[in-house]
Symmetry: D2
Subunit: 237 residues, 4 copies
Amino acid sequence: MNDTFEDHCWRDIIPPDVIELYQHYKRDLYIGPRAALVAIDLYELAYQGGAKPVAEVAKDYPSSCGIHAWNAIAPAQKLFAAARAAGLPVFFTTTETRTAAKPGAVRATNRRMPQSQRGPDVYAIRPEFAPQPGETVIYKQRASGFFGTPLIAHLTQLNIDTVIICGESTSGCVRATTVDGYSYGFHMVMAEEACFDRSPISHKVNLFDLHHKYADVMTVADIASRLEGRMQAEAAQ
Amino acid sequence: MNDTFEDHCWRDIIPPDVIELYQHYKRDLYIGPRAALVAIDLYELAYQGGAKPVAEVAKDYPSSCGIHAWNAIAPAQKLFAAARAAGLPVFFTTTETRTAAKPGAVRATNRRMPQSQRGPDVYAIRPEFAPQPGETVIYKQRASGFFGTPLIAHLTQLNIDTVIICGESTSGCVRATTVDGYSYGFHMVMAEEACFDRSPISHKVNLFDLHHKYADVMTVADIASRLEGRMQAEAAQ
Amino acid sequence: MNDTFEDHCWRDIIPPDVIELYQHYKRDLYIGPRAALVAIDLYELAYQGGAKPVAEVAKDYPSSCGIHAWNAIAPAQKLFAAARAAGLPVFFTTTETRTAAKPGAVRATNRRMPQSQRGPDVYAIRPEFAPQPGETVIYKQRASGFFGTPLIAHLTQLNIDTVIICGESTSGCVRATTVDGYSYGFHMVMAEEACFDRSPISHKVNLFDLHHKYADVMTVADIASRLEGRMQAEAAQ
Amino acid sequence: MNDTFEDHCWRDIIPPDVIELYQHYKRDLYIGPRAALVAIDLYELAYQGGAKPVAEVAKDYPSSCGIHAWNAIAPAQKLFAAARAAGLPVFFTTTETRTAAKPGAVRATNRRMPQSQRGPDVYAIRPEFAPQPGETVIYKQRASGFFGTPLIAHLTQLNIDTVIICGESTSGCVRATTVDGYSYGFHMVMAEEACFDRSPISHKVNLFDLHHKYADVMTVADIASRLEGRMQAEAAQ
């Protein structure tokens, strides 16, 4: 049995007797041979107010994940570098903003948004992760990157078997996308430190739920190492 | 502002400063005029081993929610009584078991299931909630009651605007169904004590997430009172 | 039995003995109390080359429906006027053109498109039907207005029971949208002269198929009269 | 350009000048390396009344395709043999009949069905094509084999890139499934003589539409030859 199966960020919040209840979910983790990276909502809105505690930025920027967003930049950059080096197709989700599409009527959550927090600028992908030529942006209005979007068509056409997820928020769009991806039949992998949320408890409990039921939560280092190992194996052939 | 918006079971686990971060989600709760009840996975499997702590039943019955399942029977019965008295369409989800459909290949989660825990018997709806004539059973293979099922077609044909959710598990099929229902455009209501999970922390954090982002979590008494009030208003006309 | 059930454009192409085979589909036609208008792909591309026979415009404008598009303008205008007067929510579909969304990778059909026929200009809605404030544009990449779009969420949120379809092409996006709408549980109505196709035989056979299996094909005059009658009935209350 | 692109059953009904309008759809046909066979509604109901003209059986058996069903048995058997020999995953669709699922409320089409034509017996797969161990039956309530079913999850999990379609009716469930399969991102192939319909004109026009827009229509001999050629190439390695 995999000794590191529970060696993740939820350890300090999920007591051992609860973890024991989930022994029936233990299994070997893996990345399939045809993986894609899907980065959820890495847009400006999540970083507004800067690298400060969420409590300091939440009033002015209700969609910001504050310090949690900023802390996830370096791990996500490492993940992107590994994915791009391995030639994985890369997808980004962001929010539909065209007025004619009525993005205010069909929204990701029930959160009220100040007018200053709408419009295309705040939904631009952060420059650290700027989409490269050939990468695809999925414009969505609900939480899941699959709902009301052509993401499934892109993934099927590329014959993808594994979807690696990063981004925000763990308890919102990341979770919804991961559950849908599992339902559609993909092997789901989550990049632990490259996912973030405004609330640590929701972040940890959602990763815990997802790891057991629907997805393989791995560290960025683990994912990068597996992708690199694959490239070396291919090069040696 | 609604003073009772946060007056729910997660109070003992989500600290006040985190709750403060979610102030932008506060809103008035309601049940729309054309509601339906969707009861998730109230099948025998969740009650196996009896009304005991989950730790005592988990080894033999990995799908059981033990005492949490049994504690939710009375509230769920009250909810069913109120819904049926108010004439709401009632739907049940359970798991597809026909061998030819390959329920083992497309499954709700990654959990390994002993052979003794498969087959139609363990997926029969508990007698306390037995489907009445005219009520509909949705057979599913994934977590969400919407995924790979005709549930959306039934709800649209009945012109439903609100879906009231109860059942299990809060962190699995209940959550997946609730998020999908929100995405499809329904007003979602969750019956707090009539939802359950094997893990209290996952139960509470998932209800917290869902209440703020996607659904109105209400007590069974609140739901029953609103449905009864509506009937009295109609009778008085 | 409804004597006018088969009194439609397919009469000159479907022989009476075949129509007799479809007697089991005869039923009363209707528009439900909460209808919406969904206009499919009424964009410039379909009108390119002008009101000429398709054979004359097809080489330069492979997406044009030529004279059939132009002939449908007046009926569609009458339909729009009736729908707007009756207060129906109005939706338009058109093609996604944002480069980042990779509209060339996930496309409506296998048709090869000259470069001159791409880009936002040719996918602008014709000025005769220009979206009014409050009306919604659905950007799609596949044939169906439902596939990969939030259309179902909009319709559910508005509690729509009937979807009235017009636009093009009858054998492509109109058909795909109509079948999906039926599957989702809406009562589907098609505005006969306000639907069009580059090929009369495909137009007629598809309307024939759809009328029997999935939708109520009505003349524009019939639809307008029913909507107007409803307004008068409401005004008289 | 592929000279045989239009060499199909619709030649006697679609005039050359119309075919000329569809030149922009010409392309090379193919079967991808990871194909599956999906057989639509090859159940007893379609064969009721025997190998007679549809007009003779339609009154008693409104769902029968009569002689067209029976004529398609031998080609479909050849197709099944080729697919099974090549190791393709095989899926069947049929109609949901469990009373609790309310198959009468959510139905494939608007056709009225005599009581004698309901129930599990008439929806059993014909013995000529009986599902083998390991093959999967998809129970559906709408026309498309994808709508309200887990078919997409099965295909994704098997990493399928091409779906070969046979069965009935061409103008109903076959078409709806083929359009959905294209939308989901699969390369779609249709086995011409192994698809059938009660009405020859609908059969031919639908195949014509589908061939140009969404699918590669091939003869059974062509499909069988391609699958066999692939096996020989693999054996020679």
